[in-house]
């Protein structure tokens, strides 16, 4: 990609250290309090209506956290390394398939299953990355799409040979005796995982290889002449990001306790691209924002629909009868508007706003 995208390292320049710490502590407290808030539905003894909670439940939050893993890894691959992939659903599928073999069929412990899913994802990722040694740009995008269809077919065959049309069942996983059987337990497990992935990925970007990665995205020739072996680097990035996606795929299957080949269709892959465009290409924070918007907006809209009710007129019919299509319409338009007016997504918009405010404050 030739266009310069903002480096993902976000500096909070200007803000004094104590304010940053206070902000961080506040965020942490909010994240820890969130599951209690969403299950008890009261705040400081005050009862909250469904609308005040934006019609959100912990299940949506958990699915959002799983999607964040996918969006983070795709944004690392596409936004930071400049490799476009429509094959992200394939890595999810590979992870879910490995979980089915090692978890459902062989009954291995959950941590081992996750490890196997990561390895399976990485293996498919390296396979999908191999065409990048020969073709570039559009042709490479298409090769990831072809890989998607191949993996999806393997998943379909596996599902029908070993299981049936209903899909692959997944048992309730347990982490060293700690059963993940309630949404709250899942929440803390997933939150830790997302935080770990986020910190890990941002740290790799500050390492030697991470800098080489950004150099490769911004100017491949220059990176090569500076001694970066772009071919090896590309395969490595593919392995790393698809391992994350593989783990996310296994978690997704375990969380829903069922997976079919239709769960991982091409539109599943496309939604991750939409997330990183909404959030902001090349920004890991943007990946989190994009996943949050994509997963939470539908239920917010559903909440509004319940509030307004089945009224007459166009809005009533849109919110009642055609709600699924209405959500799709809003997402499609959001992506189009952001692409035309704010190519760096919501994260980019936020930064622009911040600079504007700071300039105002100074003058």
């Amino acid at each position: 990609m030739s266009e310069a995208v903002a480096p993902p390292t976000v500096s909070v320049a200007g803000a004094p250290a104590w304010r940053r710490w206070a902000l961080g502590a506040l965020c942490l407290a909010a994240l820890l309090y969130l599951p209690t808030l969403l299950t008890e539905r009261t705040i400081f003894g005050e009862r909250l209506s469904n609308m005040q909670l934006l019609n959100l439940g912990l299940t949506q939050i958990n699915l959002m956290l799983i999607a964040m893993l996918g969006a983070l890894s795709l944004n690392y691959l596409t936004g930071c390394a400049g490799l476009i992939s429509i094959g992200h659903a394939a890595f999810y599928a590979a992870g879910a398939m490995a979980a089915a073999v090692f978890g459902t069929q062989l009954g291995l412990p959950f941590p081992l299953v996750l490890l196997a899913s990561g390895l399976a994802g990485a293996a498919v990722g390296v396979l999908a990355g191999l065409p990048s040694l020969r073709v570039q740009g559009l042709y490479f995008v298409l090769s990831t799409m072809a890989v998607h269809y191949l993996v999806n077919f393997v998943f379909l065959e596996y599902q029908f040979r070993v299981f049936d049309v209903v899909g692959i069942p997944y048992a309730t996983p347990s982490l060293f005796g700690f059963e993940l059987n309630t949404p709250i337990r899942w929440y803390f497990f997933l939150l830790a995982l997302v935080a770990l992935t986020y910190v890990g990925l941002s740290n790799t970007l500050r390492s030697r290889e991470g800098r080489a990665l950004l150099a490769m995205r911004d100017h491949e020739r220059a990176a090569m002449s500076a001694g970066v072996d772009v071919r090896v680097l590309r395969i490595k990035v593919f392995g790393l990001t698809s391992a994350i996606a593989g783990v996310a795929g296994a978690l997704y299957a375990y969380y829903l306790s069922n997976a079919t080949s239709e769960s991982f269709g091409i539109s599943f892959a496309i939604q991750f691209i939409a997330m990183i465009i909404i959030g902001g290409m090349g920004s890991l924070k943007g990946a989190l924002i994009g996943a949050a918007v994509w997963l939470l907006l539908p239920s917010v809209i559903a909440g509004f629909a319940a509030e307004i009710g089945r009224g007459p007129g166009i809005l009533g019919s849109l919110l009642g009868e055609h709600r699924a299509q209405f959500v799709q319409l809003i997402f499609g338009l959001l992506v189009i508007v952001l692409l035309i007016f704010a190519p760096r997504g919501l994260a980019g918009l936020g930064e622009r706003l911040e600079t504007l405010l700071r300039q105002k404050g100074r003058s």
């Binding site: 990609m1 030739s2 266009e3 596409t78 476009i84 065409p131 990048s132 040694l133 020969r134 073709v135 570039q136 740009g137 559009l138 042709y139 995008v141 298409l142 090769s143 799409m145 072809a146 890989v147 269809y149 191949l150 999806n152 077919f153 379909l156 071919r231 496309i270 691209i273 939409a274 465009i277 290409m281 849109l318 055609h322 299509q325 209405f326 799709q328 319409l329 997402f331 499609g332 338009l333 992506v335 189009i336 692409l339 035309i340 190519p343």
Partner: protein, 288 residues
Amino acid sequence: MLGQVLFSGLALGSIYGLVALGFVVIFKATDVFNFAQGMFVVAGAYLAVTAISLLGLPFPIAILFILGGAALLGAGIQAILIRPLSGRPILSIIMLTIALSIVMRALIEIFYGPSARTLTTPLPSGGFLFAGLRISQLHLTAAMTSWACMILFGLFFRYTAIGLLMRAAADSHEAATVSGIRVEAVNRLAWAIGFTLAAIGGMFLGQLQVVSTELESIGLLALPAVVIGGMQSIPGAILGGLLVGVLEQLASTYISPKASDVVIYALLLVILMVRPWGLLGQRAINRV
């Protein structure tokens, strides 16, 4: 059996070739790899439903309605969505066309309802036996119309003044602008043509099956068709379309109906590895 499969493969392949031709016209003119081409096919089918079933127009006028509507939609999409994004990285443009197809699908399902509709036209729909093959007249009409359109556009690009302008603009935007060609108008025309060709394909596919947004996945087979044939090549698109049609029918008859996609995409992967510029394309792509 084999002859029957080949016949329906070639007939469907002709329609794919037509859709792929529309794709290549857009790609050559504006460098946009249009993932919404499948949705253009669906839009064509629904234009036909609107004209014939809902408005009850007489057939010749209905045809004009479909062609005109498709051309207007294509030109409008270019003016509103594609032009502001010229010169952006390919992911933005790919995602724009994907978002466009999401919006179009949502709008169609809101206006026409999510359930499938049948499309009946005065076109002959019977069948007859020829050399031991059962020939469906609708398949035959579809194939012949597709070939007529492809030949017509081939001649148009080769021999008319506008066709020459379009080829010049596709060759080099700068050189064309310097020579006084209004490149934007030419691009708009390319999108109008691309949409119209997809819409004609959609009209036939809607009749051969039922009209629903699920036709998109069939229309999207134009993508592998184009790459297999060669992205810059018009005969390549047609050849790719025919190949994809025949392969699809062979795979779903002799292997399993679920295998048709994977066979096509496996061939795509092989082509990308061995001959990335396609069967009939020119060897001028960026190799690593």
